[in-house]
Symmetry: C7
Subunit: 98 residues, 7 copies
């Protein structure tokens, strides 16, 4: 159905976590850093080939449901079913919150 987006290449569809000040897991994000990373959840992984024509299916480390830290200014905003999402390259994801 038309309510989903499959990112192309090594891109990932993520949804920002509601509260970025303090997360359930105890990760505090700094409020003074120039480039403030944000917590998000991975919704969908990309498909197809990257810029060099390499199949991305074996490239991803993150998986659906992972909580990740992303750069504040990374990615492109899209709405899926009325909710804000981001399409971001996996190499712009800083880390996985465990």
């Amino acid at each position: 159905m038309a309510t989903a987006i499959t990112p192309l290449g090594r891109r990932v569809l993520v949804k920002r976590s509601l509260s970025e000040e303090k997360t359930a897991g105890g990760i505090f994000l700094p409020d003074t850093a120039k480039e403030k990373p944000q917590e998000a959840e991975v919704i969908a992984l990309g498909t197809g080939k990257d810029d060099e024509g390499k199949d991305v299916s074996t490239l991803f480390t993150v998986k659906k449901g992972d909580k990740v830290l992303i750069s504040k200014y990374g990615g492109t905003e899209v709405k899926v079913n009325g909710e804000d999402h981001l399409i971001i390259n996996e190499t712009d994801i800083l880390g996985i919150i465990a």
Copy 2:
């Protein structure tokens, strides 16, 4: 016949969807994002070799008829049979709308 364009290399010919505010599939595009992605339909895939001389026929993930999200400022505008189209590199397509 002379009413079609075959893109060269890893380029794709797409046609923007009529309404970009709200699409049939329920994907809402944000109206405040600096780089607003747009919905479009894939009309034709490229042919030949890319900038590194690699055959593009095995590179494409999108296919004719796919609804895709493209960057607002990506691609070059062309008219085919009087209708606006865009020639855009596949790596500038953000995702496929399913």
Copy 3:
């Protein structure tokens, strides 16, 4: 004879079509786009090796006589037998008009 130019590397010699507003084939070119593509005919393909030393003879997708869309500002202008031509890299050709 000395009335021809053989482009070097992956360059192509093209000649712009006379009317760019409306072509015989029904392709309309937009008059408001910032980078307006132009219709041209391929006159001669390049020879020799490209910047990486790769033989260009197997790289070309366009062939002599093809009608192509080129970027308005791409290429270098030269005159052959008093007529304006352009030497342009094949990777700067947007597509083939069929």
Copy 4:
């Protein structure tokens, strides 16, 4: 548990040492250098693939617990359990303090 971050790719999670003026080991950091390096401890190594899709598990030289010198402006600040940390690319680590 949600109190840890696993960096992605060739990134490393480090924690700056408390006193940067004079460390226990006798390494004095200059106070006049334009780009002042800082001492930090490696908390966690990255996982997955780097920007070229290469598995990072065999790439790291530093290991958990290593005291390292990092560029003052390198990395992105994150808080883990309320404490300041940095996510930094291993290639931006200047050296290991032995």
Copy 5:
């Protein structure tokens, strides 16, 4: 003897043709183009290895005596026996005039 220069790498020593307005072969060069190409004759090919350490002896398409079109601002001017010459990279030669 000391009256010759052997270019290094994929460079070529060329000598500009006397009249650039109209050449014997009927090639007219445009007088309004921003980057006006010029006609020149190949005097000597380079020797040795290029920037990547690749032997240049199999790379050249032009040969001694070829009339070529070169970019107006390409190359470095040198005098050989009191006459102006240019040392230019072969990849900056636009085409061969036949």
Copy 6:
């Protein structure tokens, strides 16, 4: 012990020679050059992998104790046991003073 630094990757730890005006070996360094090279001694070679993940152990030409010429503005200053040192990439070392 904590009084040594092992550089990471293809970096080298060097210590500038005391007098840069005239060295024992007779090498005079120019005092008017815009980028004045400096004489230094190699204290320690780097370890691990470079930016491309290549093991650096077979890459170094300089060795411990070598007197080298380095670019004046290259490298990052660090203090080891209270003495000024530099961490510099080997490819920024101009030459070895014999």
Copy 7:
């Protein structure tokens, strides 16, 4: 002895020829060119590995004693035994004067 410099990587130690206006070999250097090439003599070739870790011993085309044309602004000035020299990358040498 300490009166020599061995350049590192694909660098070459050269010494500018005394008179740059007119050389014994009849090569005149232009006095109006923006980037005026200069005549110099190769004093020593580099050793070790280049930036990509490739052994430079098989890369050099120039040899000790060669008269070469170098870019006026290329290289770094050093003094050896009180005389001005330049350390320059071989790929910045334009040609060999024969």
